[in-house]
Amino acid sequence: MTGTLKLPHEGTPGSSAEGLDARLVVERGAFRLDVTLTAAPGDVVALLGPNGAGKTTALRALAGLVPLTGGHLRLDGAELDRMSPESRPVGVVFQDYLLFPHLSALDNVAFGPRCHGVPKSQARAQAAVWLDRMGLTEHSSAKPRRLSGGQAQRVALARALATRPRLLLLDEPLAALDARTRLDVRAQLRHHLADFEAVALLVTHDPLDAMVLADHLVVVEDGRVVQEGTPSDIARHPRTDYIAHLVGLNLYRGEAEGHSVRLDAGPGITTTEDLTGPVFVAFPPGAVTLHRDRPTGSSARNVWRCEVAGLETHGDQIRADLAGELPLAADLTTVAAAELDLRPGAPVWATVKAAQTHAYPA
């Protein structure tokens, strides 16, 4: 598989010798990480999960900074877990970059090639090419403390790429940047990752970063993979509250019988899909309509009695957090919120049209 032709990941990608094939098991005290990761050269995989899920531990295990307590780790057919960290063809971009403060940007990038036995002048020439590719030629003699966050991030990326790794690891690559730089850097990073011919794996807790940068998402919670797939797949079919919350969906589990689903949370819900057995039902907060009195003429068949638990402003919208028969999130305009006289504790009726719900097998 080349970098330009990418097939969607269904089933088991990277089953050939090329690329990454790993099952990482790391036990530390009560915490156990057990994730399986496969990727073909040219793939960009994102490990997405809440803080403390074990994402960074997985990344450190891949780099050899944390020993595996079990599983296997193969890269392009080589047994990586038998190799010392310094001999692994793995490049890492650390969260706070860890650029060597006493070396110029150029010497930071030349550090890797130098360690691989490239003579000094040649290593610096290679480093200059990398910095040029990152648009940093004029900063090549600058010490890291004189670089902006975005520049430091690109130097760190150049430094990691200069060793020509077969696996590039990025730990929260955009977390250290302010909102404005983040947009630019994200676009540049996407561009550089698209050019990268080997496996790239990034760790992030930001779903937007993951979805923009990666073509395959692996969602990790509490040390385990809870879901994986393409970004759009995961956004449409979340399987845990965490992901549903990330992509802004109301998500419920239940038992389907034809078009009606009995939710584990209590009430029933009518859907357009015709399914049987355990299912997930999801709908966006925007699909929820709120009423002060029980709606009578409404065509919506899903009607629940709720109570306002909290209100939050999202841009020009208000997100209402509702408790009651069915806990759910609803989006409405500020005008609508004022008309309904929404405030914490206020009783409301919520309706959702069946056409706006989405059910899929669990």
Binding site: G64, L65, E86, R88, V92, L98, F100, P101, C115, R159
Partner: protein, 282 residues
């Protein structure tokens, strides 16, 4: 709008500072009096040294060959002792700071022991270890024909014994404060642990090493007890400045004062140098 900015001094603090100082008030007498007495106690001897200094005969005293000999020997042996401390002390500090091993706390205590040990005891211990009939010394003598006591090398050994802990403690502290993840970053770039130490850690902790070296050098320069016990007091061979001062005090007090002033000047220079190093280190 901005005349205060043009003058370079922000307007706020300038008006605030005197008010704040007044608000904090004076120190209570039970603290102030002993504090001043302590200060006088520390400064008075140095002032006395300056008052009683034979300024007129100074050039003549300081250019005598004995003084030059002692000064030269002191500078050379203190520098050599510092070099020895660096070669062995920096790796020792790295071991204590970066490698987990059983009994690490005990080893650290052993390393710091010479800091608090009376130097004379150190000298006696060195004799028992490296003396001609010492535990190791007898083998050095019969196998390699090396004798350390009462030689210039012996001076260096005695000074290094006393000075090295200062360097180890200083460097270890800097190493602990330095982020070990830089070494990890170096490792992921293909550096062995030694290369990571040499090319990343060492430059990062250079200010701490410099501060430790200056401390060790100053300690070695002033070393008296261990030196006179282990290396004796032979002019030109083992008689360093502090020994010369002590001896001169018996028969030529003016020379002793002159020599003391030289050591005082060196100490002040060291202190000034150290201040800068420590500023940059932290």
């Amino acid at each position: 709008m901005t005349p205060p900015h043009l003058t370079g001094a922000p307007a706020g603090p300038r008006t605030d500072r005197p008010r704040r100082r007044r608000a904090r008030g004076g120190a209570p007498l039970p603290l102030l009096l002993p504090a001043l007495a302590g200060l006088v106690f520390l400064v008075l001897p140095l002032v006395a040294l300056l008052i009683r200094a034979p300024w007129r005969s100074m050039p003549e005293l300081l250019t005598s060959p004995e003084v030059w000999q002692a000064l030269q020997l002191s500078l050379v042996s203190a520098t050599a002792a510092t070099a020895v401390s660096l070669v062995f002390g920096v790796p020792l500090a790295w071991l204590l700071a970066r490698v987990e091993f059983p009994g690490r706390g005990f080893v650290r205590a052993l390393v710091t022991l010479p800091l608090v040990l009376p130097p004379v005891v150190g000298g006696v211990a060195l004799l028992l270890a490296l003396g001609r009939n010492g535990v190791v010394g007898q083998w050095l003598d019969s196998w390699f024909g090396i004798t350390l006591p009462f030689t210039t090398t012996g001076v260096v050994v005695a000074e290094a014994f006393v000075a090295m802990p200062f360097l180890v403690i200083s460097v270890e502290g800097t190493l602990r404060a330095a982020d070990p993840r830089y070494e990890e970053a170096a490792t992921t770039l293909g550096a062995s642990r030694f290369t990571a130490f040499r090319r990343v850690t060492l430059p990062l902790i250079a200010p701490g090493i410099a501060a430790g070296a200056v401390l060790a050098w100053a300690r070695a320069l002033g070393e008296f007890g261990a030196t006179i016990t282990f290396a004796g007091n032979f002019p030109g061979r083992t008689q360093t400045m502090p020994l010369a001062v002590y001896l001169a005090l018996q028969n030529d007090p003016d020379a002793a004062i002159a020599l003391s002033l030289v050591l005082l000047a060196v100490s002040i220079a060291v202190l000034a140098g150290l201040r800068d190093r420590w500023m940059t280190a932290s």
